[in-house]
């Protein structure tokens, strides 16, 4: 009986022993920064890679499930991810990372933009 309990515990360990904080970064730069700062306490994944144009990304099913299971979103903002991040958030049903919650971080909200036009045309 004891052995069985031990075996069950061992089997379950990989499911339980996961990183404390799952971070979903929109670009690899934010993933690298978050991993550097968080060390072993966080697991940062980037939604895009350096070979992609982060403005034109499909709201893929794999990204939706990543947003569903994340604790913190770190993105550039300033409408860079406008074409896909809102769709991921709408489909992922994760209340903890909606804009306005502590789980949602847009870097552009915390720096002073340079050469920002008051009005713009396409």
């Amino acid at each position: 009986m004891k052995n069985m309990l031990l075996a069950a515990l061992l089997l379950l360990t990989p499911l339980v022993a996961r990183a404390d904080l799952n971070i979903f970064a929109c670009e690899p730069e934010w993933a690298a920064l978050a991993q550097e700062l968080g060390g072993k306490l966080v697991k940062a994944n980037s939604a895009t890679n350096a070979l992609q144009d982060p403005h034109y990304i499909q709201a893929r099913p794999s990204l939706i499930s990543k947003v569903r299971n994340t604790d913190l979103i770190i993105c550039s903002g300033a409408q860079l991810e406008l074409g896909w991040l809102p769709m991921l958030l709408r489909k992922a049903n994760n209340a903890a990372v909606m804009p306005g919650t502590p789980g949602y971080l847009e870097a552009s909200q915390y720096v002073k933009g340079l050469d920002v036009e008051a009005t713009f045309d396409r």
């Binding site: 499909q58 991810e81 074409g83 049903n93 720096v111």
Partner: protein, 454 residues
Amino acid sequence: MRTLPFVMLFFCLIGTTTSTQAQTSAELADLRAELAQMRADYEERITQLEQRLAVAEQKNIRQPTEPDPQTTEYRQADNTTKPVARAGNQSSNPDIGVIFQGQAWRHSGGSDDYLIPGFPLAGEAGPLPEGLSLGEIELNISGNVDDKFTAWLTVPIAVEDGEVEVELEEAWIETLALPAGLSLRVGRFFSNIGYLNDKHRHSWNFVDQPLAYQVFLGNQYLDDGAQLRWLAPTDFYLELGAEVTRGDRYPAGGAANSGFGTYTLHARSGGDIGFSHSWQAGISYLQADAQERASGSEDSPLMFTGTTRLMMAEFVWKWAPNGNNNQRNFVFQTEYLWRNEDGFYNHSEDPILAYDTDQQGWYAQAVYQPFPRWRMGVRYDQLSSSDPGQSFIGTDLMPTERNPYRYSIMADWSNSEFSRLRLQYTFDRAGMLDDNQWGLQYTFSIGAHGAHSF
């Protein structure tokens, strides 16, 4: 006694002069020492200052933007007055966007009285009108109600038979903060069944919907109701959903069962294969009770009362080198629809006819973008039906021997994600006559433009 102060003054003076003389040399030495001390002090202070400057300069290199009082204030304000949840766009509330569509379209056979024998046509089903015409002008208004709810409104403005018609396509409220991966939507919405059903007209890859969507869903099934979606907390994508709708629109009708007549279910999964490939697959089911549902011509419609069951299977595969969709990409999609309708038809003059028929439809399409801005695509779609019985001979519900089918090719050019010109040719062997259809369609968008789904 008056002399006393003078005497005292005298002694004082003598005392000072003598002491000055005696102290001069000592004082000079003191002063020199003091000066030297001061110089040393200043030198020390200067070196200290220089060190501090060096440190400050190093800090500056590491952190080029000194915290600006304005930004700091903004950040503090932000933390205290939590900004209302907005999906990335903070330009205005609500977001307003308008999509313009129109076309020049030709038929070799003529578009009037289009019908597909054996398949009731209702809603917006059917080919595009001939000649120069305006498509739907789609007005989209959306925004967050507060941190827990978001709202969406789509009002298409269309010209039908010379009259301007304002419709209500979508008007829904959705939750943003339900726990456990749930979300609830209430209002009027495009049902989440199938792959194409909830796609807005401007994001279609061809000017029209596949035949199966036209005959089984009236182009797209939308209705008033509630939708619950649940996303599994797993690494792979799994979404389950259910909807209850009023049942007032094709393929339902007449708001049967006191307006709770129709329900749908769907399950969807998907994933990536490497960086370049991604896929999505799903199945959906719709069951509706129809009460005197009208289809066919408006003057003498066919009325159906009974139960309609629709099963749908979808598969989409997308390829883009390294996932860089903007440069080059390829999309293959296919759907299979199966429907059973069990009930009876009545026609104004004819007697009531019992009807129990199985029908199928499917399409497959491929769209390729060889380089930015240009795309080309092909689509094949087909329908088939079982025999409804002897009593339907001579009616529009009697299918022909030959299964209805079409094939289409298209090429489009997009100057940006907000503009598109499309050329399409369709060979239609679904209607009464073989029909060659071709034309040019434009789609332009101003204002806010929401993100598209996969």
